[in-house]
């Protein structure tokens, strides 16, 4: 069994994001991390491997700096690392084509990824890739384990928990998982250091990147919050109550 896990390096959730011109200024991002939902997917992949064997390949489509994230993944137990050079691709369908081609080439028949990336929150990668590789897609799950030739995935729903049975090939997208990504140890770090990262291009994968059907117009920072209002004295009570009722709609 080959397990593929799709990872994306995003600005750390604690990093300050600044917009310069009409784009997020990536050079101003102080810390890049693995997207949190991808971390849950990676932990689930490691648990699948522990339970049933098989090699894990971690695949990312991104710039060179993403190699750090791949090495971090190797430190917790990923076997093979693939960096698809993004060549400035911003169109999510292109990213999906590249990832799908790399998954196919790896021969993996189960794919795990986060339900959405913490930077774009697009949520299209998992379903898109599953479509391209002809795999069933089970989205927003919190847990997965192998049963027979297939898998059982658990998903929280407003009315309770769903257990979804699925056969291979399949793709799972992770919501907040049951287990946080494990911490590496020194042994893992030393092994990760020796691990080669295979860097491939769209040509290597035989994917023709045509013109984009989608283009990103601009980024803008969230609107500045209006300043708070201050009321003093008992006389202001009716005003405050009225505002809470009519403007804030909280009473």
């Amino acid at each position: 069994m080959g397990i593929a896990v799709l990872l994306k390096q995003v600005p750390d959730t604690t990093a300050k994001i600044s917009v310069s011109g009409d784009r997020v200024d990536e050079t101003a991002v102080s810390k890049w991390s693995m997207s949190p939902y991808d971390e849950y997917a990676l932990e689930a992949a490691l648990q699948l491997k522990e339970a049933g064997g098989g090699d894990i390949v971690a695949i990312t489509c991104g710039p060179i700096r993403a190699t750090k994230m791949l090495t971090d993944a190797a430190a917790v137990g990923v076997d093979n690392l693939i960096l698809i050079q993004d060549e400035g691709v911003t169109d999510s369908t292109h990213v999906q084509s590249l990832l799908a081609a790399a998954v196919k080439r790896s021969g993996s028949d189960v794919v795990l990824c986060g339900k959405q990336a913490a930077d774009t929150n697009g949520g299209s990668t998992g379903p898109g890739v599953s479509h391209l590789i002809g795999a069933a897609c089970v989205g927003m799950i919190s847990e997965v384990y192998a049963e027979g030739d297939g898998f059982i995935a658990l998903r929280a729903s407003p009315t309770g928990n769903e257990r979804v049975e699925v056969s291979r090939p399949c793709l799972f997208t992770f919501d907040k998982g049951a287990t946080e990504l494990r911490r590496p140890n020194v042994r893992g770090i030393m092994m990760a250091k020796k691990k080669q990262i295979e860097t491939v291009t769209s040509d290597d994968l035989g994917v023709a990147i045509g013109t984009s059907s989608v283009s990103l117009q601009s980024h803008s920072p969230p609107p500045v919050k209006p300043p708070g209002q201050k009321f003093e004295g008992a006389d202001s009570v009716p005003v405050v109550v009225a505002k809470l009722r009519d403007e804030a709609n909280v009473i």
């Binding site: 102080s30 911490r183 020194v186 250091k193």
Partner: protein, 390 residues
């Protein structure tokens, strides 16, 4: 807010990927396990056993030692581990220093093959805790005059004497004890169940409260013949261990200082007095600038010393300078940070008073501040000033 360590001169860029990964691993662990629990551990006066398990699982105990299951990391990586642990608490770093540099190191360097194979694999995983017995109630800076004696009784050695201020003593599975055999200092491995050996805990500390400190008492303590470290005689044995531990402390002190700086900066920016954040006042800025200046210098000392350790071009005096200076400035940084926090600085909501109290111990143990100055004085002048004789 995620912790951003002060790194004004970008020491980070000098590290290898492996060193950075090890540092980040320990940093994350400290954020997750130490910081939320340290005040309770200090209040209860315990070193939680879970921390021992985690340190073993991370694989950082005995960091720079190679073979016998040990990590084999660089001395820079070992320094970074100490820095991150002490950013959490000096007591946690003390645990790791004692286990790695004071208990594992002498077995690794001076032990027999059998001793190394028997003890080191279980010590690097944290399964067995070690401690180090050199200091005695009446002999601290002057260990050469120790009273603890070993006698060769043919089939076994008989130990008599007492050690004091022993980190990890009560929780240790084994102690590396320095005692005089026929007037010569030798190292002995004493196991916790050896007859005649007890390790009562010392209580009432205002410092290193999450670290276990003990006495070791040997009353006709019988130990098998194969427990003496065969390959070292004299003070060279314990001093070699102390060199490694002191090296780690020079990094650890930087971690404690970074923690205090970070807290002071944040506090100064958010605390409003006279309608402005106190960070906007010149006297406060002067203090923060002084902290940044001294921490940056201490980082460079520690880093360069680490390089010399890795290259093997160091001398013990280099370590004395770094231990003495870095702990000294860290203690001053902690006091200044407490001052910037005003009354809030005495609360356990902030780490500064805890670091300050810890660093008072760190200033004294592993060679007092003054002893390190005397070591440097002897280096400079060629004249020893430890005693009036000679």
């Amino acid at each position: 807010m995620a912790y951003e360590a002060l790194d004004f001169y970008d020491i980070d860029s000098l590290l290898t990927d492996e060193e950075r990964m090890v540092r980040d691993m320990v940093r994350d662990w400290v954020d997750e396990k130490i910081l939320p629990n340290i005040e309770k551990a200090c209040h209860d006066g315990v070193f939680p056993d879970e921390w021992r398990v985690d340190l073993g699982e991370m694989g950082i105990l005995g960091a720079p030692l190679e073979g016998y299951g040990c990590p084999g990391l660089s001395y820079i990586a070992y320094g970074l581990i100490c820095q991150e642990l002490e950013r959490g608490d000096s007591g946690v770093r003390s645990f790791a220093s004692v286990q790695g540099s004071l208990a594992m190191y002498p077995i690794w360097d001076f032990g027999s093959e059998e001793q190394k194979n028997h003890y080191l694999p279980k010590m690097t995983t944290g399964e067995w805790i070690g401690c180090f017995g050199l200091t005695e109630p009446d002999y601290g800076s002057n260990p050469g005059d120790m009273i603890t004696r070993a006698e060769d009784k043919g089939d076994y050695y008989l130990l008599n004497g007492a050690k004091m201020w022993i980190t990890n003593g009560t929780i240790a599975d084994l102690a590396v004890v320095w005692a005089k055999l026929d007037g010569v200092i030798r190292g002995f491995i004493v196991e916790k169940d050896d007859p005649g050996f007890t390790a009562p805990e010392m209580t009432g500390k205002h410092s290193l409260k999450a670290s276990v400190t003990s006495e070791l008492v040997f009353q006709d303590c019988k130990i098998p013949k194969d427990r003496m470290l065969p390959h070292v005689k004299g003070l060279k044995g314990p001093f070699s261990c102390l060199n490694n531990a002191r090296y780690g402390i020079s990094w650890g002190a930087v971690g404690a200082a970074q923690s205090c700086f970070s807290s002071a900066r944040e506090y100064a920016l958010s605390r409003i007095q006279f309608d402005h954040p106190i960070a906007s006042f010149q006297l406060v800025q002067n203090k923060l600038a002084w902290m940044l200046r001294e921490i940056t210098k201490a980082q460079l000392l520690a880093y360069h010393l680490g390089k010399k350790k890795d290259e093997g071009t160091w001398i013990p005096e280099h370590i004395s300078l770094a231990k003495m200076n870095n702990v000294d400035i860290a203690l001053d940084v902690a006091r200044m940070a407490r001052d910037i926090h005003g009354a809030n600085g005495i609360l356990d909501e902030y780490p500064v008073m805890r670091h300050m109290a810890n660093l008072e111990s760190v200033k004294t143990y592993e060679g007092t501040h003054d002893i390190h100055n005397l070591i440097l004085g002897r280096y400079i002048t060629g004249i020893q000033a430890f005693t009036r004789e000679s």
